[in-house]
Amino acid sequence: MTSSSQLLIPLHVRYIQSLGEDDLTYHLTAHLRMNAVYWGLTALCIMDHKDALSKDETIEYVMSCWVDEAGAFGPHPDHDPHLLPTLSAIQILVIHDALDRIDVPRVTKFILSLQQPSGVFAGDQFGEIDTRFLYSAVNALSLLDQLHQLDVEKTVSYIKQCKNFDGGFGAVIGAESHAAQVWVCTAALAILDRLDVIDQDTLAWWLAERQLPNGGLNGRPQKLEDVCYSFWVLSSLSVLRKVSWIDADKLTSFILSAQDTENGGIADRPGDLPDVFHTIFGVAGLSLLGYPGLVDIDPVYCMPANLIESKGLRKGWEALPRKAS
């Protein structure tokens, strides 16, 4: 067993390339296949191996998920359209500089149609509402350069009402503060230039409090650590320019110890089975911590930073400086 005090990039690249081969779990997760492709591709970008998956095959797959009646994307061919795979599809196409493949007016219409009177977004016609969908809509419209079509006041007012007594945000008005929901609300506010809604010092402190003695981060007080919070918490702190409030060395060790040193990939915590979700968020967390050899990630969009910057969408976030080695 090789040492896990380093990020085993070649191993993780091979792990991502081999996803789907004879893996039963892969078959049972068709409903989030588009998300998984985006997670895998972004992880490859951050590890500077963007070309490890075929660009043409990826684009072909994305377009095969287009649901023409709806003007949106499903997670897999013949699946119903939904906001989450629509965002992932857009992100993938942006990464591959293939946004021209999208019918922008129709997708914009689909996204805007999901906004509720209260300002939150539903994920699809099933009607489930969540600030995750609000973020997905804001992110997608921003990448499509259609943010001017959004009722920003209404959108921001919903997020405002989600603010809890501890400074955090939940999935809907009244829901408990949770790091993943904090991230979607913070990132949405960053895109809309409304960070004034946040009690920044209080929230940043709440986020710093997520770090446990073992160096890992949890999502709410008195819950277990999980590698994915390395992204949700860290990127929120990045936006609030307080990444230094986390003990970077301890978190780095924690993420590295959750690697599968035989087959590649990163798990939610040391000893568990890896998956592509925890792989991207572990790698993204390391990137924000300045881990050497990684590419910068934009914490607002969870996409390569230089790409977001080239589109003129970079906001005022701060990550730790990249270490030389």
Binding site: L24, P77, D124, F165
Partner: protein, 365 residues
């Protein structure tokens, strides 16, 4: 009607082997390769066949249930099931009962809770009293006249609350379950239901005083819903909440949720943190240091128990915040101790507090 509850997919004949399904053309899923486990795919192929013909029938319920059991996050199956239930006018209370029996398996999935919301809304639509807007995306913020809830809807609400309580016994911090409970309370908006919530939260905190979800729910019930009947005396309410929170801190001082709650209620009511100074101070000392203190039994300020881990970091943070107003050098002393000794993980945060506080100190001439 086959007994579906309890039968796993391995024990059921494949849909392709069943005579009552021969009329449906299964639609294979697009794959670039051969799926290795066709048995798992058969229900989904038949599902797409049903969707293409827009069939809404009893057997669709059987099919969607099979899919959901294999993959509870398959939101298309849930959606189609819901529309089928309505189209064939299936008994919705039976659907709820079926969902009850599958709940513990699926409780970590968003869709199972959303389906419940839809079913309840379908049964009691329009809501028995005007839902106040919480978790209800289409409600406006203005309040409307509340109609008296019927005995049936009251009973249903209680049954639902009991169901949620059972689920919380299995997973006391399940995010979707708590969110659903909030939705349910707002949907029925029955004053008697709200009244029971404090007792409910206290039972859960007796089980686990560190349950952050329960503390959050307490805040929601006491402060988040506007005034409850019988809670008009906000001074009395604050007194009660402070007393309760202090007692829980005395039981287990190193409990972030209780301290966050304390801060929350003080901020919400505009109460100065310094009012809590006599309570907090004993928690900032070691047991040895406290030996010199007089042991006065102060019911308003319960002291830390002999087993408590002292000093309590959260108490020190709180005391530093009290001092920040008019004795900032004392705050700095505490923050230095936290940065260098007691909470080194967040060293940079404590250094930030020191820097910010000293910024405002006028330079001595």
């Amino acid at each position: 009607m086959p007994d579906i509850a309890g039968d796993g997919p391995e024990e059921q004949p494949l849909f392709s082997e069943r005579p009552d399904w021969t009329d449906v053309t299964p639609v294979p899923q697009y794959e670039g390769y051969n799926p290795i486990a066709p048995i798992f795919y058969t229900p989904q192929y038949y599902f797409r066949g049903i969707v293409k013909t827009n069939e809404k029938s009893e057997r669709v319920l059987e099919l969607t249930e099979a899919i959901i059991r294999l993959n509870p996050a398959h939101y298309s199956a849930w959606q189609y099931r819901y529309h089928t239930l309505l189209a064939i006018k299936a008994p919705l209370d039976a659907e709820l009962k079926l969902m009850d029996s599958l709940a513990v398996q699926f409780l970590k999935t968003y869709q199972v809770w959303h389906h419940r919301r839809l079913i309840l809304t379908a049964i009691y639509s329009p809501p028995p009293s005007n839902a106040s807007g919480l978790n209800d995306p289409t409600a406006t913020t203005s309040s409307s006249a509340k109609s008296k809830p019927s005995p049936e809807s009251q009973a249903a609400a209680r049954t639902e609350l009991a169901f949620i309580t059972r689920v919380l016994m299995v997973d006391a911090k399940n995010y979707h379950t708590w969110s659903y409970r909030q939705w349910l309370l707002a949907f029925f908006d029955d004053v008697h239901l709200w009244e029971g919530e404090l007792g409910f939260v206290e039972r859960l905190l007796e089980e686990d005083v560190r349950n952050n979800s329960a503390w959050h729910h307490r805040f929601f019930v006491v402060f988040g819903r506007g005034q409850l009947q019988g809670e008009e005396d906000r001074v009395a309410v604050l007194k009660r909440e402070l007393s309760y929170t202090k007692d829980q801190i005395a039981l287990a001082p190193n409990n972030a949720s209780a301290w966050n709650y304390l801060r929350g209620i003080l901020e919400r009511t505009g109460t100065s943190f310094s009012n809590l100074r006599s309570f907090v101070e004993p928690y900032t000392k070691t047991h040895e240091d406290r030996l010199g203190d007089e042991e006065i039994l102060d019911l308003e300020n319960p002291a830390p128990s002999a087993e408590a881990e002292l000093p309590c970091v959260a108490a020190l943070e709180f005391l530093a915040d009290i001092y920040e107003k008019d004795a900032v050098s004392k705050s700095v002393e505490i923050w230095k101790r936290l940065a260098n000794e007691l909470d080194t993980m967040r060293k940079k945060y404590w250094e930030y507090r020191i820097k910010e506080a000293l910024k405002d100190v006028p330079v001595q001439s």
